[in-house]
């Protein structure tokens, strides 16, 4: 169930039937199943989890842990490898702080040129403190990850290789298997920023052999302020928590404390319970629609968008449809992205404009910004037609 048929799951589209919502890479809309799951926690069994002996608390705990199970199934992990976070940014920050504690000036961390600020700035800060160096895998002229560059950069001193599975600016799908194999050959850990992949591509962490995978709820039809950090069990067992407090301990004296098992030790304090339950419902919603069908739908539409919009603008991203998702960034000579997005908004077409939290990538590509249309399961050919019409009008106004 995709396109117009999928829209019926989202109350927003009943209220705004003519809205062409093409900013899914920033945040997706929320289906009724997710809103309902969260509401039922608040109205039906609201209580704190893991503590109360009473029935309500047991019910809330059960639903919270069921959500963890749903997320584990969603990415083919075990439930104890799923840490609930506030989003991708939180997961990546934790890794950048905790994994690098013993890194020295001899060590390096390899990222790519297309990273979102969330997978760049935490590593920059850690590098400044610990003295290790950062390296960046170059892109090909076709906006893809240059594996030859990765082979040169990943060496015996590489401790971590981190990369976006899908670029939030270019739509590029990274050659994850190859990058992970290169990293593992050199004994480096791998971190996959899957924020732009979770709702669009089937994700199997076992098959990928990734050590860590982070993603956000609000980009996969789930609530804001929710997310997951997956870590392989053997890594999680030897990692220090980031926060200390209630829930994450097994035994405490005035002098010291022992940590609870995984993943509890990484979830100090009362978590975002409703959001976790909502995220579990989002994972089930996506699975129910079938990720392969979603991918096929979005691929068809991306092809259509590249063809139609491509006649009007310069596309910034891979041309090969099998190597990209429905994140379609473009520039128009003589027209500023903010003006284009503003005019499109007034046409009922919602897109993003600017640097998309990838300022270094923009500079690397010689751009100050771009306009980005990004697809979701409910996107339709009519949305693309409206985009094209809006772009034509923007060109008429701005480039006359």
């Amino acid at each position: 169930m995709t396109g117009t048929a999928a829209k019926q799951h989202f109350a927003l589209f009943a209220r705004h039937p003519h809205l062409a919502y093409l900013d899914n890479a920033a945040s997706t809309q929320t289906p009724q199943a997710v809103v309902g799951a969260m509401a039922s926690y608040y109205t039906g069994y609201r209580a704190n989890i893991h503590r109360g002996v009473y029935e309500l608390s047991a019910l809330a705990t059960g639903r919270y842990e069921n959500a963890r199970g749903a997320l584990a199934r969603f990415i083919n992990a075990s439930a104890d490898e799923i840490i609930f976070t506030s989003g991708t940014t939180a997961g990546l920050n934790w890794l950048a702080l905790r994994l690098t504690q013993k890194f020295t000036s001899r060590d390096n961390v390899v990222l790519t040129r297309l990273e979102h600020h969330a997978n760049l700035v935490p590593w920059q800060q850690a590098a400044k403190e610990r003295g290790f160096s950062l390296r960046f895998v170059e892109l090909t002229p076709g906006y893809e990850i240059d594996l030859a560059s990765a082979r040169t950069l990943i060496d015996e001193n590489t401790k971590v290789v981190g990369f976006a599975l899908v670029s939030n600016t270019l739509g590029t799908i990274s050659p994850a298997r190859e990058l992970i194999a290169l990293a593992h050959e050199r004994g480096a850990l791998t971190i996959v920023d899957a924020a732009q992949a979770a709702a669009h591509l089937p994700l199997d962490v076992r098959d990928l052999e990734a050590d860590f995978v982070a993603f956000s709820g609000h980009k996969m039809y789930g609530p804001t302020g929710s997310g997951v950090l997956f870590g392989r069990r053997e890594h999680l067992r030897r990692l220090e928590p980031l926060f200390y407090g209630g829930e994450m301990v097994s035994h405490v004296t005035y002098e010291t404390a022992e940590w609870a098992g995984i993943p509890e030790r990484f979830e100090a304090g009362t978590p975002a319970i409703a959001e976790a339950i909502g995220l579990g419902a989002a994972a089930e919603f996506i699975t129910g629609l079938d990720l392969a069908a979603i991918r096929a739908h979005e691929t068809r539409l991306t092809e259509y968008a590249l063809e139609k919009v491509g006649k009007e603008v310069k596309i910034i991203g891979p041309a090969d449809i099998s190597r990209r998702t429905g994140v379609v960034s473009f520039v128009i000579k003589g027209a500023h992205p903010h003006d284009i997005a503003d005019i499109l908004d007034k046409h009922g077409v919602v897109v993003r404009a600017g640097h998309h939290c990838t300022m270094p990538l923009m500079r690397y590509l010689g751009l100050t910004g771009a306009t980005r249309a990004s697809l979701g399961v409910y996107s339709t050919a009519e949305d693309i037609d409206r985009l094209v019409e809006g772009v034509r009008y923007a060109k008429k106004v701005l480039c006359a």
Partner: protein, 128 residues
């Protein structure tokens, strides 16, 4: 979210005066001589502006700006750089954000306010 607005509403923002200043900005130059130079950044879009100011007898005698920007920021830069000519530092520092918006004479939405104010705030920064 402004849905399904008629083209006249688009034209309210992108009116000919704004577009004319976008295509042919005023004072987009590097003055032959200047006393102070300041960069300004709009973090929401990554746009950068640079202003160069020359003083003579306590008054701003010449000003130029450089950089890329959207129609609103370029029009605002054109208008404000003209407006500050011949004024003292005190006079320039007393220009308010509302003055700038009024000068543009268009409805400026919340997300575009930074575009409209970037040049003014950079000029005022350069004076402090």
């Amino acid at each position: 979210m402004r849905l399904e607005l008629p083209h006249s509403e688009i034209e309210a923002v992108y009116k000919e005066m704004i577009l004319e200043l976008f295509r042919h900005p005023l004072n987009k130059k590097i003055p032959k001589r200047y006393d102070v130079k300041r960069r300004g950044l709009n973090p929401s879009c990554g746009d950068e502006i640079e202003v160069m100011i020359a003083w003579e007898e306590g008054k701003l005698s010449d000003i130029g700006h450089q950089g890329q920007g959207c129609a609103i920021s370029q029009a605002a830069a054109s208008l404000i750089t003209d407006y500050v000519k011949g004024k003292t530092a005190t006079e320039i520092l007393s220009i308010t954000n509302t003055d700038m918006i009024n000068m543009l004479g268009i409805p400026v939405s919340y997300t575009r306010i930074k575009c409209a104010l970037l040049c003014l705030s950079t000029i005022q920064d350069a004076l402090t």
